[in-house]
């Protein structure tokens, strides 16, 4: 296995870590212990701000809750500042997690973009009509995973009893037919179930 580059080496190669360190010039508009906010040099609109964590995190799931919450509050404040500075008609707060979502840098950031009606910025989230039953199916399929991420943090010793805990926490008892259809604990099954539902959204 190839040796993992050290955090120092990663930081050396990360343009945003260099910006934070001041080794690369930027237009900093805010800085505190945890975050730095700079103007994007390729803005969607004038005043497009990037809120960066001082710590090098490549992706959002690595960031501790406290810091995520703090980023949120700072983004709100930046949004407010932009509304005032440009008399904007709105702001878009945008996070891209992963290349497929449009993440280009290996350093986590929150975009805050001042917006005007018909400013030509194409961030339009498509909306599709979905059937009630389909949405319910999706909700049922996602519930275990979502519950898990919001679940009580388990210590190693408690890990084993996780299954039991989940059963206890689970709300309504599942109907017999539903149980036959899909065992809730099986990840593979859950995925294929969602694939079955998948075509309703892809159909035009």
């Amino acid at each position: 296995m190839a040796e993992q580059p050290s955090l120092e080496e990663i930081k050396q190669q990360c343009i945003f870590c260099q910006i934070i360190a001041g080794a690369v010039a930027s237009r900093k508009i805010y800085e505190d212990k945890k975050v730095v906010a700079v103007l994007d040099i390729n803005p969607a609109n004038p005043g497009h701000v990037l809120v960066l964590t001082k710590e090098h995190y490549a992706i959002m799931p690595q960031i501790p809750d406290d810091d995520i919450g703090y980023l949120g509050m700072i983004s709100k404040s930046i949004s407010h500042a932009l509304l005032k500075a440009f008399k904007a008609e709105g702001t878009t707060v945008f996070i891209a997690n992963g290349v497929a979502a449009g993440q280009r840098a290996q350093h986590f950031m929150v975009h805050v973009i001042p917006r005007m009606e018909s400013d030509g910025v194409d961030i339009v989230i498509p909306e599709k009509q979905a059937k009630k039953e389909d949405l319910q199916k999706i909700a049922t399929a996602l519930k275990p995973a979502i519950s898990r991420v919001f679940g009580i943090k388990l210590s190693e010793s408690e890990e084993k009893s996780q299954e039991r805990l989940e059963v206890k926490k689970g709300e309504k008892p599942v109907k017999k037919e539903e149980l036959k259809k899909k065992p809730v604990e099986d990840e593979e099954d859950k995925n294929s179930n969602l694939d079955d539902i998948a075509d309703f959204l892809t159909k035009k």
């Binding site: 702001t91 996070i95 339009v124 909700a139 979502i146 991420v149």
Partner: protein, 171 residues
């Protein structure tokens, strides 16, 4: 008042999680499977009006939802977006954080065309923004829940004065 989001919260339509401040539910008109809305329980239209401590919770929860989606769907990324104000295309009269599952070539294009600004323009923008960011720093913390003591009936100014005097006369 009919707010689509308040309706979802009230009727618990496809709600996946909720606590005192935040509700997580499926988007009624999803862009894709697993499109989720994270919203403040109270009817608050604009992000700036949401208390700091709730904003913090919204983002923490949006990140957790995103992790949950990674675990349960075959996806390669997520977008977390707040459309704040009509200028940004906000479609509900209620502040929501949208979590959108993404895969390569899913046909969704949420990226913008970059604009080119001259150095001079950038410098002006910097000054303008800096002028407003000076005040960032103090964040609103959640107030501890009021104690039962608040139940005491309100005293009029006259009474207050009388009480003060009475207290003064105490040995």
């Amino acid at each position: 008042m009919t707010c689509e989001i308040c309706e979802i919260i009230k009727s618990k339509t496809n709600v996946l999680f909720e606590d005192e401040k935040v509700v997580v539910a499926l988007a009624p008109k999803p862009s894709t499977i697993g499109h989720i809305l994270v919203m403040p329980k109270d009817h608050i239209p604009i992000l700036e009006q949401v208390p700091d401590f709730t904003v913090s919770e919204l983002f923490i929860k949006a990140n957790k939802v995103s992790i949950g989606l990674f675990e349960s769907l075959k996806i390669e990324g997520t977008n977390i977006i707040v459309q704040n104000g009509t200028g940004a295309g906000q479609s509900y009269p209620h502040c929501v954080v949208q979590v959108i599952p993404r895969v390569t070539n899913d046909g969704m294009n949420l990226l913008w065309k970059p604009k080119q600004l001259s150095e001079e323009e950038m410098a002006t923008v910097e000054l303008k923004v800096k002028d407003e960011t000076k005040f960032i720093g103090e964040f609103e913390k959640e107030k501890p829940k009021p104690k039962e003591v608040e139940e005491t009936p309100k005293v009029s100014k006259e009474e207050e004065y009388l009480i003060k005097h009475l207290k003064k006369r105490l040995p």
